[in-house]
């Protein structure tokens, strides 16, 4: 008899199980391509062990999505009437579990080579990796797979769960999705939050565990078994609302704190590591030159077949080739990557300077460009974003409280952000001295003051 359930070994979750229908999706070109996309871009140049791929992460997200789904829909865990009314009946639950797992498996298929984040510069206007994800999920090739499943899946339902809500709205407005997905039900919102949510999204749970394992750092670990076991759908009674949200039983609060601390440490120590970020900048510089030499518009292709044909392997081969000859497009950036000759961190945003001028890093960047030439200065930034760690907690006496009322730890976790300015190693000493002397003037001079009816620089 043919095997119905297939086990895949995994260093984080031990076994990941898929049935034969799901295996068709795992074996699709879109998911198999992820075997050749680095999960952390060029981070292996800083953390040599971090060579894991989007493929195993996507399998991990699917596995965790199924586990969380089973916990939050278990009869004894659905105690509130408003939540009971929202959770579908048994026959439909099986459908939604399958949709959720497929959305989790496919949530990253639109990623560019090296998972590169500079999509605004490298993709045509109106495109990002999530729109590519949508195009793949709705492609004829994949719709055949969805329709052959038992029960058959609607591609639109998979999109609703795989894509962040604000992006979905944007794609509807751009005509890339039908208007019916612009607003989704409370149930679909919970399942979407289960994958991409800020607090308990399984995407984040898997990447923190997996990235810390491969990078060789301990910051990303937390007790995800305990956390998952205590997740619940709860009405937000602490906000005087019956609207349901993903929350946690009080017994799991410390695991939730550990997850959110892990997120803070991983962002500040690994994801925002300045050398990691500057290699992203060198890669972007290379890709911009390489794409210009390949395509008229100088952008990555957005047709599904073209996208699926392009992986890290093609880009890495091009980098190695470009680094051999100064006349090659993208030579300088390619050489820096190959020879490990990255730019150095000249300035990073800090609370003292931000108190004088919130745009201090931008001011330093502009002044450095003027002083050393724009080819010799690079900037990379990510402002603090996302949701504060405010989620419902079911207390021992069955009240629903805000996590921030119960946990002082959560209230004190600062939002993570960075804003870096880099210069080549050959200019570093000069630039450092220059900045030491000029900084007070530089960060003051960019203040914008509005006086009575006029704006002065």
């Amino acid at each position: 008899m043919r095997k119905r359930t297939h086990e895949i070994r995994d260093p984080i979750h031990t076994f990941i199980r898929v049935d034969s229908d799901e295996r068709e999706a795992v074996d699709s070109r879109a998911v198999q391509r992820l075997r050749h996309i680095q999960q952390l871009g060029m981070s292996h140049l800083v953390y040599p062990g971090a060579t894991h791929k989007r493929f195993e992460h996507s399998l991990g997200v699917m596995e965790l999505a199924g586990r969380v789904f089973d916990v939050i829909t278990r009869l004894e865990n659905v105690r509130h009437e408003s939540v009971r009314q929202m959770v579908p009946a048994d026959d439909k639950l099986h459908y939604w579990r399958r949709v959720l797992r497929m959305a989790a498996l496919f949530h990253d298929v639109g990623h560019l080579p090296f998972s590169h984040a500079a999509e605004r510069e490298l993709l045509p206007s109106g495109w990002d990796h999530e729109r590519l994800t949508v195009e793949i999920i709705r492609s004829q090739e994949m719709v055949k797979v969805w329709e052959a499943m038992t029960p058959p899946l609607r591609w639109l339902d998979i999109v609703k769960l795989a894509v962040e809500p604000e992006k979905r709205k944007r794609y509807v407005e751009a005509g890339a999705l039908p208007p019916e997905v612009k607003s989704i039900t409370d149930w679909e919102t919970i399942l979407n939050e289960l994958i991409v949510g800020d607090a308990f999204g399984v995407d984040r749970m898997d990447y923190l565990l997996r990235d810390s394992h491969h990078a060789g750092v301990a910051y990303g670990r937390f007790d995800h078994y305990r956390l998952i076991d205590t997740l619940r759908i709860l009405p937000k009674e602490h906000e005087e609302s019956q609207e349901p949200a993903l929350g946690v039983e009080e017994g799991g609060l410390h695991s939730a704190e550990a997850l959110l601390l892990a997120r803070y440490f991983m962002y500040t120590q690994v994801y925002f590591h300045p050398v990691r970020k500057v290699y992203d900048v060198h890669l972007k510089d290379f890709l911009a030159m390489w794409l210009k030499a390949q395509h008229e518009d100088g952008k990555f292709p957005t047709a599904v077949n073209d996208h699926l044909d392009l992986t890290d392997n093609e880009v890495m081969a091009a980098i190695l080739k470009a680094a051999r000859e100064p006349k090659n497009a993208g030579y300088d950036a390619a050489r820096r990557i190959v020879e490990h000759d990255h730019f150095h961190l000249l300035y990073k945003r800090n609370p003292t300077d931000a108190g004088v001028n919130r745009a201090a890093a931008e001011a330093v960047y502009e002044a450095a460009c003027e002083r050393f030439g724009s080819d010799n200065v690079r900037r990379d930034e990510r402002p603090a974003e996302g949701e504060g760690p405010n989620f419902p907690v079911l207390t021992g006496d069955q009240r629903v409280e805000s996590s921030l009322r119960i946990s002082d730890v959560l209230l004190k976790i600062p939002p993570a952000s960075f804003d870096f300015v880099f210069v080549p190693g050959s200019l570093f000493e000069d630039a450092e001295k220059w900045l030491r002397d000029e900084k007070p003037k530089i960060i003051q001079s960019k203040e914008t003051e509005e006086t009575d009816g006029s704006t002065t620089p």
Binding site: E243, A384, E385, S402, L404, P414, P415, D452, G453
Partner: protein, 183 residues
């Protein structure tokens, strides 16, 4: 509108809501900003999507988080019964002082919104904001019952009767806001 000016408006909106007794959690600020932009006409440029408790600005959420990082606002648990409130923080006043013109221009609009929403709880804000969102989506000329049905379809825990009341309230407020903007 650039970021510092948007932030000044947000700080002043939080102050105005609090002056009227609002608990001023993230949902209160989200919905008040939605009314300020979409009904009172402030040119703040946030993008609202149907999501938690009705229209929700993910970019507004990011901005509030960035403002927390820059000590312009802070989270504070004031009332043990409820979740955290957003309050102006250490750097808020100096930013406000730099943009008197922006503040003066938006003060009547902020006051209008704070007066209407300052005493509202999340459950009421959810109904009113969803009613405004639906009215914009299907057109304010669409009859009130049809809009109420749509509100109920989007948020099943809001009854059709509650939705109808919210649609009518929003219609009244829109007329007042139009008058205010023409003054």
């Amino acid at each position: 509108m650039d970021r510092p000016r948007r932030d000044v408006i947000l700080i002043r909106l939080i102050e105005a809501l609090r002056e009227r007794g609002s608990w001023c959690g993230a949902t209160h600020v989200q919905k008040a900003m939605f009314f300020l932009q979409e009904m009172a006409g402030a040119d703040t440029g946030f993008e609202f999507t149907p999501y938690k408790h009705g229209p929700f600005g993910f970019d507004l959420q990011d901005e509030l988080t960035a403002m927390r990082a820059d000590e312009l606002v802070a989270l504070q648990v004031q009332n043990p019964e409820y979740g955290p409130s957003l309050v102006p923080a250490a750097a808020a006043n100096s930013l406000k002082q730099r943009f008197p013109k922006t503040l003066r221009k938006h003060e009547p609009l902020i006051e209008f919104v704070a007066e209407k929403l300052g005493d509202k709880k999340v459950v009421e804000l959810e109904r009113l904001a969803t009613a405004l969102y639906v009215s914009q989506e299907v057109g304010v000329g669409t009859d009130a019952s049809t809009r109420a049905e749509r509100v109920h379809a989007m948020k099943p825990h809001i009854s059709v009767g509650q939705a109808l009341e919210a649609v009518r309230t929003v219609d009244d407020w829109r007329r007042e806001a139009t008058k205010l903007k023409s003054e």
